[in-house]
């Protein structure tokens, strides 16, 4: 074994990764060759220097954050599974159906309660309510004649009580929710 060959194996020798026979050969060579012995010490010192670096500790929050990330990832994964995606796809349908039901009830109650007024007026009024859902009062009625006399807190003449108190209509609560099911069946 020449020096070049020995020096190529010094790291493996240092890590005891050679066969017993090779280890012995190199040990013998190092004991007799100052140049290779010096090279061996240099490599050993590097190994020791690296090995002696103290452990770098992570910031305190890191570990917990990792666990949270894993859980968030798991949640995402389960949400993407077919069963869950069907549930997710359901929500727009339900909300759509609910909105449609409310609108239907509104039409229906208008038809019943404003029986004394002409049915031709009812439809545009309801539509204007739908288009401006924050105000429960038909805009056209409000602009031409006030629906409330504010001093007496009574509905204005010609305006039914339920039209003025559109949000208090009891039918909206009592009627069973049939429409959502029908609408869901459509899609």
């Amino acid at each position: 074994m020449n020096c070049r060959h020995v020096q190529a194996h010094l790291s493996a020798y240092l890590d005891s990764e050679l066969t017993g026979c090779q280890q012995q050969t190199i040990r013998y060579h190092i004991n007799h060759c100052t140049e290779c012995a010096r090279e061996y010490r240099r490599l050993r010192s590097v190994k020791q220097l690296i090995g002696a670096i103290p452990c770098e500790l992570p910031a305190a929050h890191c570990e917990e954050r990792l666990i949270m990330q894993i859980r968030a990832y798991r949640f995402e994964m389960t949400a993407e599974s077919p069963r869950k995606s069907w549930i997710q796809g359901l929500w727009p349908r339900v909300s759509f159906a609910a909105a449609a039901t409310l609108a239907l009830f509104f039409f229906a109650s208008k038809g019943e309660d404003t029986g004394n007024t002409s049915t031709v007026n009812t439809l545009p009024n309801s539509l204007s309510v739908l288009s401006n859902s924050r105000s429960f009062q038909p805009i056209s009625t409000f602009s031409t004649q006030p629906s409330w006399h504010f001093d007496s807190m009574q509905p204005a003449p010609g305006v039914s009580f339920y039209q003025a108190n559109a949000w208090e209509q009891p039918e909206m609560i009592q009627q069973p929710p049939v429409a959502p099911i029908v609408l869901m069946g459509w899609r």
Partner: protein, 201 residues
């Protein structure tokens, strides 16, 4: 409150998920330390560790229980690290978190390293020494860096390293050997007094 949330979260996990969380908690520090030595700064080390654990979680079904967890995990970390390294090499942008190293390190070092000979323990504990070795590690090519870190920081056998780095034992041997020699040359050039001291005894 915190406790109930924790127990509720646990109630919804199956056995495998609990097992993974336990493994992640147990090995986080070790993985972080290795990632820190490979990347050289805390934010990148955190990202690498987290990414590796998430990927490990994703493929946890393929984990063979006959292997130690870290041997399997390090394989993932190795791939991730090499990929990320290559990606960054292609990109012209450098991470803002990279430490800025001055060309002449003597300026801020004279205070820490006094000439009348600190003991080896003092050398090992000094920030100066750590930074020097860390810098030397970062000067190596990523494959050499990984091989040397696995061998000398983590103390794995060549066979295990070959498994983790998906290469032959011969390749591992040559990477470790060349990596150490390069690191040695770097330290001798930049920190001669440190290299000197390391060689004594």
């Amino acid at each position: 409150m915190e406790l109930t949330r924790e127990t509720t979260a646990r109630a919804f996990m199956d056995v495998q998920e609990q097992e993974f969380e336990e493994l992640a908690r147990r090995h986080y520090r070790q993985a972080y330390n290795l990632a820190y030595r490979l990347t050289g700064n805390a934010p990148d080390a955190e990202d690498l560790t987290q990414e590796a654990f998430l990927r490990a979680y994703r493929f946890f079904g393929r984990y063979d229980r006959a292997l130690p967890f870290m041997n399997w995990f390090n394989r993932i970390l190795t791939n991730l690290y090499i990929d990320e390294y290559r990606r960054r090499q292609r990109l012209p942008i450098r991470s803002l978190d990279d430490p800025i190293r001055t060309e002449d390190p003597e300026d801020n070092l004279t205070l820490e390293l006094v000439d009348d000979g600190p003991s080896p323990e003092e050398i090992a504990l000094s920030r100066y020494y750590q930074d020097a070795v860390q810098e030397g590690l970062l000067s190596l090519a990523p494959e050499f860096r990984l091989a040397v870190a696995y061998a000398d920081i983590e103390g794995y056998s060549y066979e295990e390293i070959a498994e983790m780095m998906n290469c032959s034992i011969g390749t591992v041997r040559s990477r470790i050997h060349r990596g150490r020699k390069q690191l040695r040359a770097y330290l001798e050039k930049k920190y001669p007094e440190l290299a000197q001291r390391g060689e004594e005894e």
